[in-house]
Amino acid sequence: MRQMSRFLRVLGAVLIVLVVLAYVGYLAIYFTYAVDLFRWPFDYDQGEGFELYDAILYSQGEWPYRANAVYPFYASNYPPLFHLLIVPLLPLFGPRLIAGRLVSFVATLVTGGAIAFVVRRKVGGRFIPLISGLAFLASNYVYQIGPLCRMHMTMVMFETLAIAFVAEFEHPKHGNRNLLLGLLMLLCAGYTKQMAVFTVVAALSYVFLRDVKRSIAAGALLALAAGAIFGLLNVATEGQWWVNTIQANVNEYDYRQTIFLFGQWFRLHTVFVLLAAAYLVYETFWGRLSAYSLWFLFALGAGALSGKWGAGFGYFTTAVAAACLTSGLALGRLQHWAKTMGEREAEKRRCSSYASLCLACLIPGLYLIQAPRMLHMPTSGPVFGTLARYFGVDNQLVVGDCTTFQYHDAMGYTQLGHLLTPEDYAAGETIMDYVRTADGPVFSEEAMFSLLAGEPVITNPTQLYNLYNNDLLDTDEIIERIEAQHFGLVIFRAQFYPPPVLEAIGQNYKPVEHICMNGFYYHILWPHRLLDLTE
């Protein structure tokens, strides 16, 4: 028996070392990717440049919620907070994406830290809190979106902080303070991205279950503050806030995409999801529902929206955060049971001791089973190349539109996650040559080409597309300008413009070059008038 105990102790220690190595390894990969992106001056994900442009507009005292039917046909469809957080960094970095990428990256680190902090407070010890926090940063979804100039991860940070505060609203000394801070974080999350509404419902449901009166007061206070800001924004933008952030976000829904993404999310995060779901069931029927379990449940609602046109796996990042946190609590609960099992008799004490030893192996074992399910890594270079060969994924690469990325991801095809190459930088410079020598404003599907050349940003394609699909866009002026060949250059990537706009461009502009950059073809089009001159 003593030998068995010693064996379990040694095995547990070895497993812990392996788990820490695996999750710290993921953290190193995340930092490598983030640093690589910080240097990249162009859009890595379509939409990054538009988010930066919103921040630039705020820094100039202008609203990004504008009429889309008039030149420059640009408006934002997102709330302002993320862009306002970028504004103080603009004097430091200039109109460069690194400003927004840093905000988002730091937000993911804060979220991971908050998860670890909450688990540490509830469970104690170091191993489970550490891995719970690192697990969030090891998720394929967080890795891919985290260092982008997109607002999503900043919303997740505010959501996590909100839940952490609201969970402590019954604190004997600081209950009211915690509730108020929680409400403030919910307000921030909602004004970072509209999807935070699911976390708002989770937090208020938790307060409602425990204190009906306070939940009604909290809900009313939050509604009043959110409503007042909403009304002020709408008045200040002459109704464009409503059109661009609410009406334009009503998109087509494909339930098959939702089912696919639910399956992918579960496949990638199986152990965390199963532990969190088991903890939810335990609290529902045997314990009391916590804010964290309710958050996990309601975060699935956000995932259910992932079938919207333009949505994707990012809609599951709140559910990933909730699963990492709640799974840590579930494992803590198991540890607690094992410890309290043998409080009285000697026989029980022995059982408790063995149960604790078994758990000391089982818990790192579960984390170790989970680690390869999320495998994502660059596959070239002296370090990553060797590791990729060791893991046998050096040939399982992600194939882009015009290149094969030296990157492996357990989720399969993805447009994000790979590192940039010297060829990508050269291709970017070639496109910039076209932009700098353009004979007229540049009609680009990505904003960074125009911003880097000091040119005006013209159009937000997906916004125009959404408005067009909702019968909210008058395309007369944009088509008139295209037909007059007012624009000196057109740059397409995904061609997410309304069909009449694409048709008008097809009739008045001609492709001159297709440039492969970052795995995508960028189509360069010149106006017919310019081609007539050169011919």
Binding site: L209, V212, T284, F285, R288, L289
Partner: protein
């Protein structure tokens, strides 16, 4: 403070409402499919599960939810 029984009643009501909504889709002629669509089948399964969870909670009495 809400009890498990009260939460159970709420969850049952939610499930029944969802069930009625799913059936009403056909009566109103909404949706993309002529008959009972795949989303409706999924909704039916989820709302049925919701009612079962509600019933189980109801049986747990006055314990705090």
């Amino acid at each position: 403070m809400i009890s498990k029984r009260q939460l159970g009643i709420f969850v049952i009501a939610l499930g029944v409402l969802a069930l009625m909504g799913i059936l009403a889709v056909d009566l109103l002629g909404a949706g993309q499919w002529g008959g009972f669509g795949p989303l409706q089948r999924l909704g039916l399964l989820l709302s049925g599960l919701t009612v079962v969870v509600g019933l189980l909670l109801y049986r747990l009495g006055d314990r705090p939810a």
